[in-house]
Symmetry: C2
Subunit: 285 residues, 2 copies
Amino acid sequence: MNKVVIFGVGLIGGSFALALRKEQAVHEFVGFGRSAASLEQAKQLGIIDRIGDDVAREVCDADLILLATPVAQMAELFARIAPHLGTHTLVTDGGSTKCDVVAAARANLGDKIAQFVPAHPIAGAEKSGAAAALADLYQAKKVVLTPIPENSKETVARVRKAWELCGAVVSELTPQQHDEVFAAVSHLPHLLSFALVHDLAQRDNRDQLLSFAASGFRDFTRIAASSPEMWRDISLANRDALMREVKRYADELYVVYQALENKDAAKLEEIFSLAREVRNTWSQQ
Amino acid sequence: MNKVVIFGVGLIGGSFALALRKEQAVHEFVGFGRSAASLEQAKQLGIIDRIGDDVAREVCDADLILLATPVAQMAELFARIAPHLGTHTLVTDGGSTKCDVVAAARANLGDKIAQFVPAHPIAGAEKSGAAAALADLYQAKKVVLTPIPENSKETVARVRKAWELCGAVVSELTPQQHDEVFAAVSHLPHLLSFALVHDLAQRDNRDQLLSFAASGFRDFTRIAASSPEMWRDISLANRDALMREVKRYADELYVVYQALENKDAAKLEEIFSLAREVRNTWSQQ
């Protein structure tokens, strides 16, 4: 590729650039972002070659554009790039919800919607910012593409290729499937962990309670230390699927409650045994 | 101490012996247990000096008896030792619930109830059995004593001293307080984690779901790999407190659900922020 333009040169965007650079797959990286200081840092770190100052000019001849900003900013970015996208230019993103990003793209890309192939890289983000970017962040990590009906096969293949060059294992789901899957295995657990700590936090004896919390509590609540703003946005962006999951979980919890109420030892053991078996099988894969 | 008798020479009982042995605090350790092979192993490993074969004889002149079996076996053990306890002999245990153990002791120790000081060592148990026993298992770990009104100060002090010799940081709660605290910070999280995996396990698309589960899921569900039998017993032993916790958690979950339903971004952020703050403060202590 001759030119890749990245909006948001933080952990996700910066690592994308470093990974493609390592493969010598791109001639030039141009970065846009809200903070001049962090763009300057990204340039100093050799992540981008240039800081963009004219979206129209940079976007018209780009091979690929990555939107790696918070999802809430993407609608505006789609609107800014839409008038200037070259016919050859493809767009992908790094957002962790997909139906809302697709809706924003549809609303703002107009007849260029076919050039956008949504993506969700499943890569840890304990740190953030350009300084945290790593050339191997995506190595052997999953990236989920959620192509839309308008995408041509060739378009999807080109975006897939870019993520594969980053070392990612790429799979495909529909945007709807994606959001349902992640509501169940990621968004719900985060919500449950936040809720547990929030409940304890409101009690008069919270210090006493926490003084006896041990390693099980530590593991269970690690994700309750995640960014409140990011999880507020994800929760709302994937609200419908997440509400279904919370409802479903409340039903499951009631089953456990009833087993306790009925002193049903066999039922409790059955629930715990199946959970352990599935959890262990999964973790050994 | 001249003689310590241990019922159940596994991780908890074996580590207790090794820790006291390291301090040269005891002249002789005698072990009882259900499996002759594992007692033999404990002897080979230098954990106990002798395998007991006559409860009456070993118990009458022991300084301290530790019941380190599953809680479900303790009632029977209290009954077996009760007629033979020397006047100087004290009893403690290693069970993770306390009201039920106290009830079993009251029912079976008769007028010797004052000689029993309940204890709960908070020490990890990824492995089990005599071979997993460690001299430093209790080093800097919390042990909660839950004295009963019948205990004299001197009796509690002697049992406390034994656990402190093991390196433990000893604190005291009433049995009731203990069970309420651990329902909140340990038993409930285990139940929630089991419930999440159990819910996923029953779905038609569970393999697809699990194929996208990542590190957050891994942390959250680590405790769902715990022993189903042990957690069945703990759940039932601490049933009343645990049912209250599940109810309370369901209420909390409904608050989160309503925030989603009302698209209440501020409320979600408030919940997540307080949770993160409390979780981070706790983990830095």
